[in-house]
């Protein structure tokens, strides 16, 4: 069927009729092929999708019924018209049963033939159209089915929970993650679910589905699903528009924010610690300055000087703490450019001791450091390793007794260079040791009173050691002293 012109096959052994008909039909605009016997008719009819075939019933080689059957098997939609001079009721029925569209008795007039062909062609067009529609519908159904499974697969593999609730508050769809995050065993489909959901979530969904008109507004709510912040979720609920402008339901996306909450809590605690640590010295200094400025208090010049002296050292401590905090945040952000090179620990420790000479002598402390002639090198940033030993040795001075000792020993243990910094100071109990490396942790007791510090020194030490995949251990006994043992990987 092309350009609205029917393509016709004439199968007839009578040459005159064949050619006459061909000429007639061509003059009417049909496209015509002819076959002079049954075999030729079958060959042509099976290899071309003709719109119409006019088949003579009686041919010398093959029966017209056989030709009809063959064509119908290959192209069921080819409209076949049986032509015969030996018309009989039985053959007509037989032909119709086998799929012939109609029956034309021979001889026929051109008008008879043309009117039959016209109807046959119309039938052909209708058949093809309905065939096309049927196929299209089947394809669309398949596509839909495929879309649906694909959508389900996609939704089920989303890490966040997805829950769709219709306007009546009934479950329309959900994925396994939604059940997990809501801590539910099941959510029956097409059943009212707002009484099963956590009340905060149900309220938010209600707020959406009870609206008259669709508005593009999403609501977010944070819900503690399991107590003690064991499972905290964030549910973002948004309306689903109905084609009529109303609301079809609500889509809920649920994410697990337990970890965020934990980090937030740690951050808040840290901020409050920092605020406290920074504010305390400021309060002390402000208090002293107020006293000095307040004429009504009548303090002596000696008192004033001592308060200024105290203020000065508190401010120095504050500056030290701010620097330590900056160091910690730099380590955290890893913004500090590290210059990794081979380092000689003996050199670094020697220069650290020199650097702290003044404090050591002030307390009349004896340092014992007898490094071996040969000691393996480590690979690290020089300023960080210097900072590490400055913090450890200055602690060994601060928490030591007058005329005490600091013993620094080097040794190799497997793949580690080990440095021990031991003092003969106040030491610590097991309980006091527990939080030793936490930020702002300072042991507060009779013995530590008056020892200045930021509570950040050892936390910085630990961070540095961990930067280089090393470790730190502490052995300590109250009133005897402490031994800090640092393991740093040897460079190879």
């Amino acid at each position: 069927m092309n350009n609205g012109k029917a393509k016709i096959l004439i199968v007839d052994d009578e040459r005159g009729l064949r050619l006459g008909t061909k000429r007639l039909l061509e003059s009417e605009g049909y496209e015509v092929d002819t076959a002079e016997n049954g075999e030729e008719g079958i060959r042509l009819g099976k290899s071309n999708d003709y719109d119409i075939a006019i088949i003579d019933l009686k041919m010398p080689d093959k029966d017209g019924i056989e030709v009809l059957q063959n064509i119908k098997t290959a192209f069921p939609n080819t409209v076949c018209i049986i032509a015969t001079a030996y018309a009989s009721y039985e053959t007509a029925i037989q032909a119709t049963k086998l799929g012939a569209y109609s029956y034309i008795p021979k001889p026929f007039t051109p008008d008879e033939l043309l009117s039959q062909l016209k109807r046959a062609f119309e039938h052909r067009i209708l058949t093809l159209e309905s065939e096309r529609l049927k196929k299209e519908r089947e394809e669309r159904l398949l596509e839909l089915a495929y879309e649906k499974t694909r959508l389900n697969t996609v939704i089920n593999s989303i890490v966040d929970g997805v829950l769709i609730v219709n306007k009546n508050g009934e479950t329309a769809l959900f994925n396994p993650a939604a059940l997990k995050y809501l801590n539910l065993n099941d959510l029956p489909l097409e059943k009212y679910c707002l009484d099963i959901l956590p009340s905060e979530l149900a309220e938010t969904i209600k707020k959406i589905i009870e609206k008259e008109k669709y508005e593009q507004t999403a609501y977010s709510t944070q819900i503690e699903i399991k107590p003690n912040k064991e499972l905290v979720i964030e549910a973002v609920c948004s309306p689903i528009p109905h084609p009529n402008g109303q609301i079809a339901g609500a889509a809920v996306v649920i994410s697990d924010i337990t970890e965020h909450k934990k980090i937030e809590a740690i951050k808040n605690q840290f901020v409050s610690m920092v605020a406290h640590e920074l504010k305390t010295p400021i309060a002390a200094v402000l208090g002293y300055i107020k006293i000095i400025l307040d004429k009504s208090l009548n303090i002596t010049p000696e008192q004033a000087e001592s308060y200024l002296q105290r203020s000065y050292s508190r401010l120095q401590g504050l500056l030290e703490m701010v620097n330590d905090l900056l160091d910690i945040s730099r380590m955290e952000l890893k913004t500090k450019q590290l210059e990794i090179k081979e380092l000689d620990l003996v050199e670094i420790i020697k220069s650290t001791i020199e650097f702290l000479e003044f404090e050591i002598e002030k307390k009349k402390i004896k340092t014992i450091f007898n490094p071996p002639a040969e000691f393996p090198k480590i690979k690290a940033d020089q300023s960080q390793i210097s900072r590490l030993f400055t913090n450890l040795i200055s602690n060994a001075i601060k928490y030591n007794k007058e005329e005490g000792e600091i013993r620094i020993r080097l040794r190799v243990d497997g793949k580690y260079a080990v440095v021990e910094v031991e003092d003969t100071g106040i030491g610590m109990s097991e309980k006091e040791k527990a939080n030793l490396f936490s930020e702002f942790y300072r042991i507060k007791n009779e013995k530590t009173r008056g020892i200045p510090g930021t509570g950040l020194g050892l936390s910085i030490v630990k961070r540095i050691v961990e930067t280089y995949s090393g470790k730190i251990e502490v052995v300590s006994e109250p009133n005897k002293g402490s031994n800090f043992i640092v393991y740093l990987p040897i460079s190879r």
Binding site: K279, T280, G287, I291, N298, K444
Partner: protein, 124 residues
């Protein structure tokens, strides 16, 4: 003249606060940890307590205040704190924190005196 107990682990705050109060004629006893603080309150029976929230533990002050109230020590307490704003906690008088007034550090001597005078006036 009234006796004021100051319990704070910061020696400079203790000294500055004592000096201000003494200059106004108050008698002052001090302690720099919760244990000593409890003892001076029980032994010296002050008319007013100025108590720091954070000492050895971040909430030592709270526990000490609760302990006083449990033991029917009804002396007015002014609680010192430096972090309520930073952590967004707005403390107020409640069962949880049984104190009479909250003071954000730092506080000026005038303000401190005013608060002390107010609380002592209510008491007498």
């Amino acid at each position: 003249m009234a006796l004021v107990a100051i319990i704070d682990d910061d020696p400079d705050i203790l000294e500055a606060t004592s000096l201000v109060l003494k200059s106004k004629g108050y008698e002052v006893v001090t302690a720099n940890n919760p244990t000593d603080g409890y003892n001076i309150v029980v032994q010296k029976k002050p008319d007013l307590i100025i108590l720091d929230v954070m000492m050895e533990q971040p909430d030592d002050g709270f526990f000490l205040a609760q302990k006083f109230r449990k033991e029917k020590i009804t002396v007015p307490i002014i609680m010192y704190t430096s972090v309520s704003k930073a952590v967004g906690m707005d403390y107020s008088k409640s069962e949880m924190v049984p104190v009479d007034d909250f003071v954000e550090k730092p506080i000026s001597p005038e303000e401190l005196i005013k608060k002390v005078e107010n609380l002592l006036a209510v008491k007498s």
